[in-house]
């Protein structure tokens, strides 16, 4: 299992952002759904080793990230796109992605080819030499995805990756997600249930720091049968699970 979480908790002050989450995931794409403030980003940040949990157990890529050596090995095989992408505006797309490839300790001889591949995969080949300050929001998001996948990670964490992408780019991105999910564990946090339906083999729905549902998209659709809220089957399942959790 690439992700093994048991009773994981993280507080910010008096707020329990993540409250006793249990989750296991292996190769494939896992969609993380939930309303604002459900704890998706906090969970993703713990998975990315940005912040440590306050309690519970967390194992990533069969290693304990609380120890330095294993954490470093995890980070070497990790890709992470945060909700708010930071970037150096003076760097070009290629330089930005190469910068992260080097920080991820890729051998420089391999890095240049990997960078070219990652940039092509996110469709920024024609903007490879453009400075980041000149890119649109959607292009920046794609540059962020490129830096996350440049090391061909075994664990890829994407927080709202399709924010700012136009419909055509989102379709292409889902295709990329499916492909990445064939060899790695991909966790995608999103509000867009159609992305989950199209690209994810499994879905987890968070509510108030807890996992309210975990199953396949079809199972989530089934939960929505007979529920009125939502235009699409997945949305109805999403609403039904949340309504049940609130009740």
């Amino acid at each position: 299992m690439n992700i093994e979480i048991a009773d994981l908790t993280r507080r910010f002050g008096r707020t329990r952002a993540v409250d006793g989450v249990n989750l296991r995931a292996d190769t494939g794409v896992l969609g993380l759904l939930g309303p604002n403030g459900a704890g998706k980003t906090s969970l993703l940040r713990m998975l990315a080793t940005v912040i440590p949990p306050h309690s519970g157990t967390l194992r990533l890529l069969e290693r304990d990230p609380s120890e330095h050596g294993p954490r470093r090995e995890i980070r070497r095989r990790l890709g992470y796109l945060p909700q708010n992408l930071g970037y150096y505006p003076g760097f070009t797309v290629v330089e930005f992605v190469e910068y992260f490839a080097l920080l991820k300790e890729m051998p420089p001889r391999r890095a240049s080819a990997a960078v070219a591949t990652a940039v092509e995969r996110v469709g920024l080949g024609d903007k490879a030499k453009a400075k980041l300050r000149t890119l649109s929001g959607g292009m920046l998001r794609r540059a962020g995805i490129a830096q996350a996948i440049v090391n061909e990670p075994d664990l890829l964490l994407l927080d709202e990756p399709t924010a700012g992408l136009d419909p055509e780019q989102r379709v292409e991105f889902r295709s990329l997600l499916r492909e990445l999910g064939q060899g790695a564990t991909v966790v995608v946090s999103t509000h867009l249930v159609e992305d989950v339906g199209a690209a994810c083999a499994e879905v987890a729905l968070m509510h108030q720091g807890r996992i309210a549902f975990q199953g396949t998209p079809d199972e989530l659709v089934a939960r929505g049968a007979g529920h009125g809220a939502g235009d699409a089957p997945l949305e109805r399942g999403y609403s039904a699970v949340l309504a049940a959790a609130r009740a």
Partner: protein, 521 residues
């Protein structure tokens, strides 16, 4: 995005031609990326402009001698030009991860954050250092191209380079620890103010600053350092210990934070910071023992006694009546000096007790006058200290005869290549000492002869009074309208041969006070 262009995992092993091997290591490649996008790169033109306006132009106005042309550099002017830019750019780069909201992304990468930070700092320091060394290279090249006499001093260049490394590392650490967008401008302004303050302070511990002032420092750079005595490197050693210590401390602090790597690496960083602090402390202790001597600052624990021995040289000599000898470094100024001194030397040559030679000696005071002459020895020799190094424009004197100027004189080059200017500025000093030695000034007859001789030698009548006022010495020349003044004018009006013959016959008696005013021709 395309899912159909995925190459095999790991990619091909392409190599880029033209990339040096050093850049193929991860840190080397990081450094290469940082160098291409460093903020300091945009600051370089401003630093170059400051260097050209300040250090370069001031230096090239001085005499074409290595000891003179590097005087401004030895005062730390180049550091003053570059440091605010280096500090500001480094602080800006240091705080960029926070400002750009990228900390979360870079902090979770496996490469120790210390290494990443050092690469970013290295690029900033590299640009600052490269620009500084290029500027100094251009300055040294221009000096060498003009065939400057002497040899180039290297210690000031090294100290300046280490000072810039220290400035950039302190700025970078400030940016990392206080990552506000105001940190960079404030750090740059603070650096400029601190350097300005050390420039205006004269305390012992201010010697630790690489920027000094000839007007305030306990030990301003000597204009003839490395000419008569070896260049004393003691203070440079202390600078390297102190500034290098500051740099190492700041760079060590960058690796102490939890995100910077494993505990062992952070302990190493803490050790590096402690070593840097120890180096600074050692330098402070050393400068506390320093003493200022004629040839520079002596730090007993670092001092090499061999540096106290004068450098051997064969003087270059010229002149007709009495030989005038200069250090070979100042060979170019011998014709001008002998021409300016010739009227005086012809007047006194062959008289009993007259000097047989004029020799140049090292400057003995930290704030030397333009020229200082003493007569001593048997047979008497005029020992002449010349401040050829300082910029004459800074020197306030009576100005050359007929120039109508009584304030700023001229540049050093204009000064030392002009017979009228040396006649105005140097001749009175030499003539005063020589004539005083020959004649004395105790009684009216001596004062009258002294006045007559000075006038005959070409010293303007009011110049001695001006010099006496500047030096705070009593004016021993007779005032106009007095009998002594009239006698002096009469003595000066005699034909040179008659004056010389009378002096040859009566000088011992005159010196002993046995000649009255009425007995003068």
């Amino acid at each position: 995005m395309s899912a159909v262009t995925v190459p095999a995992r790991g990619g091909s092993r392409r190599t880029r031609p033209g990339i040096p091997d050093a850049c193929r290591t991860a840190v080397g490649r990081l450094l290469f990326l940082e160098l291409r996008r460093s903020t300091m790169m945009w600051m370089v033109p401003l630093a170059l402009l400051a260097f050209w306006l300040d250090t370069y132009r001031s230096s090239m106005a001085l005499s074409p001698l290595w000891s003179s042309r590097t005087l401004i550099l030895r005062q730390g002017a180049a550091v003053d030009d570059f440091a605010p830019f280096a500090v500001g750019a480094a602080a800006w780069v240091g705080g960029r991860d926070h400002r750009r909201g990228i900390r979360e992304q870079v902090d979770i990468t496996p490469l120790p954050r210390w290494a990443g930070r050092l690469a970013a700092w290295g690029a900033t320091a590299g640009w600052a250092m490269g620009a500084y060394l290029a500027c100094v290279g251009v300055l040294y090249g221009a000096i060498a191209r003009e065939g400057a006499a002497g040899s180039p001093p290297w210690w000031p260049v090294v100290v300046g380079a280490v000072a810039l490394v220290a400035c950039s590392s302190l700025g970078f650490a400030a940016g990392v620890l206080v990552p506000s967008r105001f940190t960079a401008p404030l750090a740059a302004i603070a650096t400029a103010l601190v350097l300005r303050q050390t420039l205006r302070s004269g305390g012992r511990y201010v010697l630790l600053s690489p920027v000094t002032s000839p007007a305030y420092s306990l030990a301003p750079p000597k204009p003839d350092a490395g000419v008569f005595f070896p260049y004393l490197p003691d203070l440079s050693y202390v600078h390297l210990l102190f500034l290098g210590g500051l740099a190492v401390t700041a760079l060590g602090v960058l690796g102490v934070q939890a995100v910077c790597g494993r505990a062992g690496l952070r302990r190493l960083a803490a050790g590096v910071a402690a070593a840097g602090l120890a180096s600074c402390g050692f330098a402070v202790a050393l400068v506390g023992t320093a003493r200022v001597e004629a040839n520079g600052v002596v730090v007993p624990a670092l001092h090499d006694a061999a540096d106290d021995r004068p450098l051997a040289y064969t003087p270059v000599c010229g002149g007709s009546a009495i030989t005038v000898c200069l250090h070979p470094v100042y060979r170019a100024y011998l014709p001008t000096l002998t021409a300016a001194l010739d009227p005086l030397l012809r007047e006194v040559a062959g008289l009993p007790g007259a000097p047989v030679r004029v020799v140049q000696v090292a400057l003995s005071e930290r704030m030397s006058p333009l020229a200082d002459a003493t007569v001593s020895g048997e047979p008497p020799v005029v020992r002449l200290a010349l401040d050829i190094g300082y910029d004459g424009a800074m020197w306030v004197g009576p100005g050359p005869a007929g120039s109508g100027s009584s304030g700023h004189c001229c540049t050093s080059q204009q000064m030392w290549t002009s017979v009228p200017r040396i006649t105005a500025e140097v001749l009175p000093q030499v003539a005063g000492a020589v004539v005083d030695h020959l004649v004395g000034h105790a009684d009216q007859a001596q004062q009258a002869v002294r006045q007559g001789l000075l006038k005959a030698a070409g010293v303007p009548p009011d110049t001695m009074a001006v010099f006496a006022r500047i030096e705070g010495a009593p004016d021993t020349l007779p005032r106009p309208g007095t009998p002594a003044y009239t006698a002096g004018e009469r003595f000066a009006a005699l034909p040179a041969a008659d004056r010389h013959a009378w002096l040859a016959a009566h000088l011992p008696a005159l010196r002993d006070g046995r000649v009255t005013l009425e007995q003068l021709p």
